[in-house]
Symmetry: C2
Subunit: 440 residues, 2 copies
């Protein structure tokens, strides 16, 4: 008998690797934060002596969900200005609220609220883009969730930095501070082609190569953005990024709703990743990302919720459902983006895009034990013919019961173990009062 930290017995396990596989009555053996084995439950009990055993007899165990694009702190702006045209939403509500209120405390409190929501809905890793990435990293570290803190870069001054050089140098400081933390990684996060000019983008490309970190950027989010770029530069933004040498396996292009067949082919050839945000794209009427064509071209597609100001939740289960339904609708093919594929997008594909494919995203020995357990015995998810299909098409975030990150039990029968929900709610209420007082 080998002694290990814990054994998790589950009614069903969908490891994502191998693809489209569901094991019944199997167990995951976890030691020192990592998966060491997966085997039939009976055999597991005979092979391992575990300090703790968890019995998930009514649950599906999946890799923790990877939210590959969000702005966590913006959760404090959830629902502040819904049902408005994009311009009015951004220019008259979101940006004024941000310029009035964003500071370290805002990022601390908003990110903590976001993490609480993400853990409660099964997300174990998130890729963020916002001001004060050091605060985001610190709050995430405190909570135990895995984070990719985006080192935001813009041409213009904000509370975080004055110009592109300062954004970059402050970003590098954050990168250095957390480079050896197993739960924290950093990415360059130049906001978008229309907010970052050529010189800083070239600088970022060189640094990203040197440091071996990725680049996370909004690209071709709306037709207006592409049209304006054509007007100003004579080039579509993707062509400009191509010319700048940015299209590579280090690029995570978010949204990508406006794509020609040639652009899809070139992007695939360059090896870039796409982060699909179906609910945000729908809510802001940005357009449809051609995910079926992108996947056919061989592009790795991950999934993100975007910020709660344009979604309005950080629920990756709901996002999986929206992605699957929307792909069928836009492709006219009910077999497009089946449940297993969308689960892979929400886990392994995200991990790969983030350079964490060896660490998380599937339940494979050697990877960190980043796990999510979902109850499937409620009225809403019965009968049950296929657990993965049920997860995607019928399950709600409230059916997530337990979450582990690197073996640490962060959500325990729906109770957060590292965060104080009441305290978070109190601080959220204080922000709500302040923010509402200035929103018109």
């Amino acid at each position: 008998m080998q002694t290990i930290d814990s054994l998790i017995h589950a009614r069903w396990i969908a490891p994502v690797e191998p693809d489209a596989t569901v094991y019944e009555n199997h167990s995951l053996a976890v030691n020192e934060g990592r998966i060491v084995d997966m085997l039939p439950a009976q055999q597991a009990r005979e092979t391992y002596r575990a300090d703790i055993e968890h019995d998930l007899g009514r649950h599906l165990l999946i890799p923790g969900l990877v939210n590959t694009h969000t702005h966590a702190a913006m959760t404090l702006l959830r629902g502040i200005a819904d049902d408005l045209p994009l311009d009015e939403w951004l220019n008259r509500h979101i940006w004024p609220a941000e310029s009035r209120w964003v500071n370290e405390d805002f990022v601390h409190d908003g990110t903590q609220l976001a993490i609480a929501e993400m853990l409660r809905s099964g997300t174990t890793c998130f890729n963020d883009m916002y001001f004060f990435p050091d605060v985001t990293a610190r709050v995430a570290a405190h909570s135990g969730i895995r984070v990719c803190a985006g080192l935001i870069i813009l041409d213009f001054p904000t509370i975080w930095a004055q110009d592109a050089d300062e954004y970059i140098s402050k970003g590098l400081e954050v990168h250095d501070r957390y480079r050896s933390d197993p739960l924290i990684s950093t990415l360059f996060a130049p906001h978008a082609p229309y907010t970052v000019s050529d010189a800083p983008l070239e600088h970022i490309r060189v640094l990203a190569d040197e440091l071996d970190i990725s680049i996370h950027m909004h690209v071709h989010e709306t037709a207006a953005e592409v049209g304006k770029a054509l007007e100003l530069t004579g080039k579509r933004p993707l062509a400009r990024l191509q010319d700048l040498g940015l299209i590579s396996p280090a690029l995570l292009a978010v949204h990508m709703t406006q794509l020609t067949a040639d652009e899809i082919r070139q992007y695939a050839e360059g090896g870039g990743h796409v982060v699909h945000c179906p609910e945000s794209n729908m809510k802001l009427a940005s357009g449809f990302s051609p995910v079926v064509e992108l996947a056919r071209a061989g592009v790795n597609i991950a999934l993100g919720t975007d910020g709660a100001a344009s979604n309005n939740d950080l629920d990756m289960l709901g996002e999986m459902r929206s992605a699957a339904l929307l792909a069928k609708a836009t492709s006219g093919d009910a077999s497009a983006l089946p449940a297993g594929t969308v689960l892979r997008m929400a886990t392994l594909n995200g991990a790969k895009a983030l350079g964490l494919g060896e660490d998380t995203g599937s339940l494979v020995p050697g990877k960190w034990a980043d796990l999510t357990a979902v109850r499937l015995d409620t009225l809403e998810t019965r009968p049950l013919y296929d657990p993965v299909s049920q997860l995607v098409y019928a399950c709600s975030r409230e059916q997530v019961t337990d979450v582990w990150v690197a073996g640490q039990h962060l959500l325990k029968e729906r109770r957060l173990t590292t965060l104080d929900g009441n305290e978070i709610l109190q601080r959220t209420r204080a922000w709500q009062t302040k923010i509402r007082s200035t929103d018109r």
Copy 2:
């Protein structure tokens, strides 16, 4: 002091009538199953002496949701064949399973499972189309939910009837049996233009006029359906229905994804209602219903989940969100179908389509007390700037705490009062075993 049955105090009330209004700290006075008053809470306590008082201090109170198109019993087929092309889904899985298994017990157990799910997600009235509508009505009556039992009509034999005449005569028996029940109404439910021929449709039109009941029908669900009709008859189905005199305020046309501008105008002129099923339309890749154009033309648009075999839930909160997001995406206008409008579609518009506009669908004195209370104090729905927006864009079905139909408290702090959840789950499991044994 006037003595009444109950006073319900709520933090917020969205009565739907008047439009786009939210009252804070108001109370609903209920007597003999009907709303008798709505007024500020303080004043309510001074005006009424109630046998029971309910304090919903963290809740939004809305009219009970009206699911205007479903096949309740099909909940037993939830998830049996996902991610398949429509033809294969229907011909190789759904119809074989139905012809093998549908009987009175199937309808009893499936409908009970569906009602449990609907009550737990805030639905107080559903419009059904399935075999054995007498069983559907009986199960609904037992549970206390409001039902519109569809008197299904097809040209071909099934376990319920042999030919159109028999479907109609059995339907009329069901209509007679329940005509005086305040919770049960009946509608003719000819399945679709391609499954019911002219003679029975003419007969139904005459009977519907005589009996003053409505007609509930799948219309223009897919492009294939319209194309095949053109091939066989030289007419699009809507043109045929127009010629048969069926387009009138008595018609509820479900799906309507294939519509020309002329058809929209003519349908609006005829006064027909449309039941929009966005999730089912997406999941089966049926197409997009042009709800923005339909609404602009003056058509009353209600909302339905369709059956759980093509959704895969009966959650009207989720359906509202999908409707709002999809309308923005397809119209390219982020202000399309705002939260208040989609709530009206899911309540009052449904009631009107069903001929129940005087009885339910809004919180107005004189109407039945069909009510749904939703908690908005969880992390996932904070901060809170606009309760109706939060309901549509951030809330999940699990936040529904209490439901009343005609004043009867059917869901009490998430506990079903008239149905036994465990018994339902046990019977569902037995069906699952049987159905799975024959599905290939």
